[in-house]
Symmetry: C2
Subunit: 155 residues, 2 copies
């Protein structure tokens, strides 16, 4: 079983890989003050532990013609276990929904939906979200601009 505790070097590695996920073991080594092979081993361990979930390319939404982010707050009629399950399954299936959180407070879910234009959002609402039964209300807020998107956790 892999070790479960992270030390300062691990955190430095995580931070460096959040900034550049393709950094080589040697570059990492210089950053964190260790040689390449223990660095590579630590990275692999953290992957195996699930600390590092995956690596991803960060894409400019505007340049791929998906400039609209809509935040949709959703309230369900009831919060029965199986209703939530069905909702989660649908959300997971729909590619327009890039983020989804179960929330405290008035609203049950907060989604971020990414689309090409408002018409595409309307289609998403009509053909998908509003067809799900159990949805009591939807409140959409539109993002005018992305001020920050950091990828770095405050370790």
């Amino acid at each position: 079983m892999p070790k479960t505790r992270l030390d300062d070097i691990d955190r430095k590695i995580i931070d460096a890989l959040q900034i550049d996920g393709r950094m080589t073991a040697q570059q990492l080594a210089e950053k964190v003050g260790l040689s390449a092979s223990p660095c590579a081993r630590r990275v692999r361990l953290m992957e195996d532990m699930g600390v590092i979930t995956s690596y991803t390319a960060v894409i400019d939404q505007d340049l791929v013609d998906l400039p609209i982010s809509v935040f949709a707050s959703i309230k369900l009629e009831r919060q029965r276990e199986d209703e939530l399950e069905r909702f989660n399954a649908a959300i997971t299936r729909w590619p327009e929904v890039v983020d989804c959180y179960l929330m405290t407070g008035q609203r049950d879910y907060l989604l971020r939906v990414v689309v090409r234009d408002l018409h595409a959002y309307e289609r998403f609402l009509k053909e998908k979200l509003t067809r799900l039964d159990g949805v009591a209300s939807i409140e959409s807020s539109f993002a005018l601009a992305q001020i920050k998107r950091s990828n770095r956790l405050p370790l």
Copy 2:
């Protein structure tokens, strides 16, 4: 100047790199039906164009002991250009704020703040957010669970 239009192969490449940002040119090649060297060239071009902004490691928040995501909606007293600028600068500086959007509607900003525990959030509010002048109100909603976080844009 680099070409500006993306074709189907480019989109496949983007999709593949969102799923695995460390995929090799050869693996990419198989996925998209091209040989390795043109694949690598397309990737580099998209990096140069800014379509691919960066690569990042995706980290499990729970396993690095940062389990709390708070969404904070913020309303400013006025929307003067320089007020917005100062707000943006502060947000950018604070590592707890991982995402920030300028919004339409009642509230001006939507932040996602990541912290270790509620006490850390309280500190963030007291020592940072509420000390910014120009902030008229803050409404915090807590995420109970992350249902989806996809990294893949609906290309």
